[in-house]
């Protein structure tokens, strides 16, 4: 039971981290109809900028400044890159963000090299918050949960309760009408893109010390983020939340409990073949859940796409 609780907390941390990325991505998608392939690259930029700032000014200034820089870069990408490509159609837009992701990875390697950066958890948070029957929960995890929940509540508040949020929501569904009412829709789009990438930047700042700050970090998380918003339903914020938590928990539990395929197959009545080592399917019999934990989200996505192509919370017409 205690282990379940520990895993629940670990899964929550992973899930909320994923949500910070997928929230921005899904907002940008519902706005422009284009998946931003480079979204995880902004997450990586956040981590690297925060590392560079933390050397000079400490972790907390990094947490404050790095997302701002990332947001400004994101807005610039929208203004000078995407808006230009937009006229050619959706596919070139998608290809553009894909190329951007490649370029940012190369750029990061160019500036910081290929090795992992020694980006550390700040001393103020480097202690054990509490322990559940011997399993200690570091304070940094609690801090991560607090930051993400705070951002989620803030985002929800801004989007649903403030005037700016109302205009954004209106601009997402009826850009022309909103424009006719005298609002600067391109500016709103640029702003949303900037905020979305800044959110990814925040995720990078707080995830960098835990998951490691290295040039491959965008790639590791990037495709999982896409899977998340496809499972949740493209363009749905709630879907993104549910799918993020789902993926966070599934992967965490799959990693910590060693469930073997052999047991499952025996459980449903298929007996282990006599000469397993010669069998064509010996690898399938030998599979264990920690082994496939990282590909479970993809399997889930393919299943979702077959049986419910618009995602858990998606709009059927989308």
């Amino acid at each position: 039971m205690d282990l379940v609780l520990v895993n629940l907390i670990d899964g929550l941390v992973t899930g909320l981290l994923l949500f910070m990325l997928s929230a921005g991505l899904t907002l940008i998608f519902s706005m422009m109809g284009v998946l931003n392939f480079a979204h995880a690259s902004f997450y990586m930029l956040g981590a690297y900028f925060a590392y560079q700032i933390s050397i000079a000014l400490g972790f907390w200034m990094g947490l404050l400044i790095a997302p701002l820089i990332v947001g400004v870069i994101g807005a610039g990408v929208e203004r000078y890159g995407l808006r230009r490509v937009h006229q050619y159609g959706h596919v070139p837009e998608l290809i553009f963000t894909f190329g951007l992701a490649l370029l940012i990875e190369e750029l990061v390697q160019f500036i910081w090299g290929r090795n992992q950066m020694p980006y550390q958890i700040p001393d103020a948070l480097n202690f054990t918050a509490f322990a559940i029957s011997g399993n200690s929960i570091p304070a940094y995890k609690v801090f991560m949960i607090f930051i993400s929940v705070a951002i989620f509540i803030g985002l929800l508040y801004v989007l649903t309760k403030t005037r700016v949020g109302m205009i954004i929501q209106a601009a997402l569904s009826y850009p022309r009408t909103v424009e006719a009412l005298g609002h600067n829709v391109p500016l709103i789009f640029m702003g949303v893109f900037g905020v979305g990438t800044a959110l990814a930047g925040v995720a990078g700042v707080i995830a960098g010390p835990v998951l490691g700050t290295f040039p491959g970090m965008a790639f590791v998380l990037g495709s999982i983020v896409f899977v998340t918003i496809v499972i949740g339903g493209l363009g749905s914020l709630w879907g993104a939340l549910v799918a993020s938590l789902l993926i966070g928990w599934i992967t965490t539990f799959a990693k910590s409990y060693n469930i073997r395929m052999e047991d499952i197959l025996n459980g449903i009545g298929i007996s282990t073949p006599e000469n397993l080592s010669d069998s064509m399917f010996r690898d399938i019999w030998a599979v264990t859940s920690p082994q496939i934990a990282d590909i479970l989200p993809y399997i889930l996505m393919v299943l979702i796409l077959i049986f419910r192509p618009y995602g858990l919370f998606g709009n059927r017409d989308a």
Binding site: L102, G113, V227, F281, V302, L305
Partner: protein
């Protein structure tokens, strides 16, 4: 929808029969194919050392793969982020055929790629059954997810994919083909060249069939195609499985050429590379991917010898293509067709020279700056000497920096000065046309 420069989309006056658009023509000009075939025959005599043949083999395989990819992207409007999977699975299948000695001994090697094609096709049939339901973003996402899934499986399912180290085989165990055992690179070259011609021709013919034409219609306006009574889903599905077939052939040729296939053949990075190659060449024309594959392979082999930063340059080039020349290299070439047809292309020569040479110098200067920055940042502490463009100097000195910056700035300034002349020449060369193209060097 997907790109502004579709095949043969030259605005003409349809009332005059001589100028009627040729897009719908089912006639096939034989001349380009004969020239291409002859070129393939002669190439090994021109570039006859082993490394050149290796590069050409690589090139030919990439061409087949890129053409197969363009069946989806250019002709069908489907953006796939996981197409390397079909090539990879084809390669693995061929490798397993090679490994099963009894069967392989009855089989001449040139037939082997068909197995790769069939396996690629089979996988495409399974995946396509649910992924081709819609084009655009959803298709792209499914292709990415399936690609990641299979790439990840390749490390787990060791029996088929051989785990991290992949599987290897020996092509020479096959039934000798008219006495040829494919011991030498040159024999493999002709095998690949043969398959290149066959698959390129088949893919071209596919694009001329009604189903290939419908793929274009579905790409441009699926709703209208549905109203005409075609199921856009089935049209996409057929394109998808044929593309999978030819990707599998490319994979099989890879297996024959390198005699090893690993997880790298089907991961997302390879899928990204093929997208890059195809888009660079131009998705709007059949021959675009061919140019792209040739240019990219040369870039990869030549540039990667010169600099560690070649992937960075490739990324910049790719992004610049997407932003400024969405038609790719082929689109850039075909922009000049109207001017050539009117016999006014000669007017462009001088402005091109006066603009492009400064531009080239500027780009070289810029890349020198990039290399110097990289050297200053990443070389070991005492190492201050570097060589760029056959000149050796101290990268911590002020002089080389001043020279590089000066050259770059001056070159780009000259280019800017020359741009209006080029624009005017361009407008002049295309004068009788009502459509104003947006400039040769925007």
């Amino acid at each position: 929808m997907s790109n502004p420069m579709k095949e043969n989309q030259i605005t003409t006056d349809p009332s005059k029969p001589a100028q009627r658009m040729r897009a719908g023509s089912l006639r096939i000009a034989a001349l380009p194919w004969v020239i291409a075939g002859l070129a393939l025959l002669v190439m090994p005599f021109v570039f006859n050392d082993n490394s050149a043949i290796t590069i050409m083999n690589q090139m030919a395989i990439t061409i087949i793969f890129a053409l197969a990819y363009n069946m989806l992207l250019g002709q069908g409007g489907m953006l796939s982020f996981g197409h390397a999977v079909y090539a990879g699975v084809g390669g693995f299948a061929c490798m397993h055929v090679m490994a099963s000695t009894d069967f392989f001994e009855m089989l001449p090697l040139p037939v082997l790629p068909i197995f790769g094609g069939l396996f690629g096709m089979g996988l495409a049939m399974i995946v396509g059954s649910f992924s081709t339901r819609s084009a655009g973003t959803v298709f792209a996402m499914i292709s990415l997810g399936v690609g990641e899934l299979i790439a990840a499986c390749s490390v787990i399912i060791v029996a088929f994919f051989g785990g991290e180290e992949g599987i290897s085989g020996d092509r020479t165990y096959g039934l000798p083909f008219f006495g040829i055992e494919f011991l030498h690179q040159i024999e493999v070259y002709y095998l690949i060249a043969f398959w290149l011609m066959v698959s390129a021709l088949l893919m071209y013919l596919f694009s001329r069939t009604p189903i290939g034409r419908m793929a274009n219609a579905v790409r441009d306006n699926p709703e209208r195609a549905e109203f005409l009574g075609y199921s856009s889903r089935w049209v996409r599905y057929y394109s998808f499985i044929f593309s999978g077939f030819f990707a599998g052939i490319a994979g099989g040729l890879f297996a024959i050429n390198y005699e090893i296939v690993t997880e790298e053949n089907l991961n997302t990075a390879s899928s990204g590379v093929i997208l890059l190659v195809t888009f660079l060449g131009g998705v709007g024309f059949f021959f675009g991917p061919i140019i792209g594959a040739i240019a990219f392979t040369l870039l990869q082999t030549v540039l990667s010898l010169q600099t560690d930063l070649w992937a960075f340059y490739a990324g910049v080039l790719f992004l610049a293509t997407v932003m400024f020349f969405p038609g790719g290299l082929a689109g850039l070439l075909m922009m000049h067709v109207p001017a050539i047809k009117m016999g006014k292309a000669s007017k462009l020569v001088v402005p091109y020279i006066t603009t492009l040479i400064p531009a080239l110098i500027g780009i070289l200067g810029l890349s020198a700056l990039v290399e110097m920055t990289f050297h200053v940042r990443h070389s070991s502490v005492g190492d201050e000497e570097m060589t760029v463009f056959w000149t050796t100097f101290d990268s911590h000195d002020i002089l080389p920096w001043a020279v590089a910056i000066g050259v770059t700035v001056v070159a780009f300034a000259v280019m800017r000065m020359m741009l209006p002349t080029l624009r005017a020449a361009w407008a002049d060369a295309n004068a009788t046309k009502a459509n104003t193209s947006n400039g040769g060097a925007a």
